[in-house]
């Protein structure tokens, strides 16, 4: 069916972008489709950690992150509060992290163990979802309302974007042609549009996962690592620009960028919605 125009979905106020830069998580408030750059500040400072992936639980308002230096997976309330480590054993290099806010589960990719794992939000009930046909799994995202999981694998020989249901069934390759280094991906919770950034093809692309065809949003970008969506904008982090770049996906145009004072790589990025999108999935009632 037709996708709703992203610029007419009413956006909850009090929403923020969260992104990871070395040992800190920064936040930038969003007002409509604008980054409130002058109000950007560090949310969490954990200088001895190397934070890669970020995910946000819109129910409890907690941020979750992966740390490759531990390695570990931790969380903290965004209204302040001490970080708590929830997973610290049997990890190699945890990179991407995703939350099914309805089923109350976290999912993560591990590029050393070559696995995708799942657990409850507190790290309990941990289980391996996939441990085959993974070479460099990185970005992962859950479409809670639709019950789908998506992830990237930047295996230079055979890069791909895969999908499965949130319980790990119905795994299949969604995209494999014309990819090089698909690093990050995101799903817009309102339109279910899947978008990704590729540091090899230097493109940002989007598709409706239920339909054939994909659309190039921008080309010739520098070195994208992760991406998140909010309203009509997509926000990606860039290793060469050391910046967060905003792209209007309706008109395929960069419209803003934010470069933190400290020059170093920016890794994961996620949208901290002030309220959860409506929806229910089968994992929530199990």
């Amino acid at each position: 069916g037709p996708t709703p125009r992203p610029d007419v979905v009413p956006l909850p106020s009090g929403t923020h972008l969260l992104f990871a830069q070395s040992g800190k998580i920064e936040h930038v408030p969003l007002e409509g489709n604008n980054m409130m750059k002058s109000d950007a500040k560090a949310l969490l400072h954990i200088p001895d950690k190397v934070i890669i992936g970020l995910a946000y639980d819109c129910v409890d308002k907690f941020v979750y992150w992966t740390d490759i230096s531990g390695p570990s997976i931790s969380r903290a309330s965004i209204s302040g509060g001490e970080p708590t480590t929830i997973v610290k054993t049997d990890l190699g290099s945890p990179e991407g992290i995703a939350i099914d806010y309805l089923g109350r589960n976290i999912f993560w990719t591990d590029s050393v163990l070559n696995k995708i794992e799942v657990s409850k939000l507190d790290g309990s009930n941990r289980r391996v979802l996939f441990d085959t046909d993974l070479e460099n799994p990185r970005g992962i995202v859950a479409d809670a309302a639709k019950g789908n999981l998506y992830w990237t694998d930047w295996n230079r020989v055979a890069p791909k974007i895969e999908t499965s249901y949130l319980d790990g069934t119905n795994r299949r390759i969604l995209v494999k042609d014309d990819l090089a280094l698909p690093n990050g991906l995101t799903v817009d919770p309102y339109s279910s549009m899947l978008c990704w950034v590729d540091a090899g093809t230097k493109r940002m692309e989007c598709m409706n996962p239920n339909q054939p065809g994909r659309r190039k949003i921008v080309e010739g970008i520098q070195y994208p690592f992760d991406v998140t969506s909010y309203g009509k904008n997509l926000y990606y982090t860039d290793w060469k620009r050391d910046a967060v770049v905003a792209v209007d996906r309706t008109i395929s145009k960069e419209n803003d960028s934010f470069q933190p004072h400290k020059r170093s790589r920016i890794y994961g990025i996620t949208t901290a919605y002030s309220q959860c999108p409506q929806g229910q999935n089968y994992c929530a009632v199990n």
Partner: protein, 184 residues
């Protein structure tokens, strides 16, 4: 605290090169906010991901943060390529291994330092029937697998002349042919 009205209200940031710092409101802790390139940490005492060293000399003599040195056997798209303090390479590719990705990893042989990936490290592929205890590792340099008695070839895949039955898994057995009735 610039509001207390004493001469010690504002103090210089304890950061390298006089770079900026901030005070964490809750803990009153001072944190450097603009560490020099490649460094991070509360006092810029750590190296960023992709770099290694010990800029403030917390573990011996100070060493500036340098890019990971892994003999071109790491992928620039990977994260966590080397240990931030020691420089130990953690994500060697092309089947290489060792502290600096300078050797072939177990089960592979060749030259980890060769210029093209195809020339680097190849699988030992030892023949399981001809190899001692079914070992899968070989000499990292020559690729010679450890052969059972009377078994030959790099991968222990053949019997030496005058012997047969490689598939016994115990080494090859003598043919015991009568010298008079045999052609050679």
């Amino acid at each position: 605290d610039s509001t207390a009205g004493t001469s010690s209200d504002c103090q210089p940031c304890p950061c390298p090169g006089g770079t900026s710092c901030a005070v964490v409101p809750k803990t009153k802790e001072v944190v450097c906010t603009n560490c020099p390139l490649g460094t991070t940490g509360k006092r810029c005492e750590l190296c960023d991901d992709g770099y290694f060293g010990d800029p403030l000399g917390e573990n011996g003599a100070p060493r500036q943060c340098k890019l990971c040195e892994c003999n071109n056997n790491i992928d620039p798209n990977a994260v966590g390529n080397c240990d931030r303090l020691t420089g130990e390479c953690l994500k060697c590719i092309y089947n290489t291994g060792g502290f600096y990705c300078d050797r072939c990893r177990d089960g592979f042989f060749g030259s980890a330092l060769a210029t093209t990936p195809e020339l680097k490290c190849r699988a030992c592929n030892c023949n399981p029937y001809g190899t001692v205890k079914g070992k899968t590792t070989c000499s990292g340099l020559t690729g010679q697998c450890e052969c059972l008695p009377n078994v030959t070839e790099r991968d222990c895949s053949a019997c030496v002349p005058g012997f047969y039955n490689l598939l016994s898994g115990r080494g090859c057995e003598g043919c015991n042919c009568n010298a008079i009735g045999s052609t050679n």
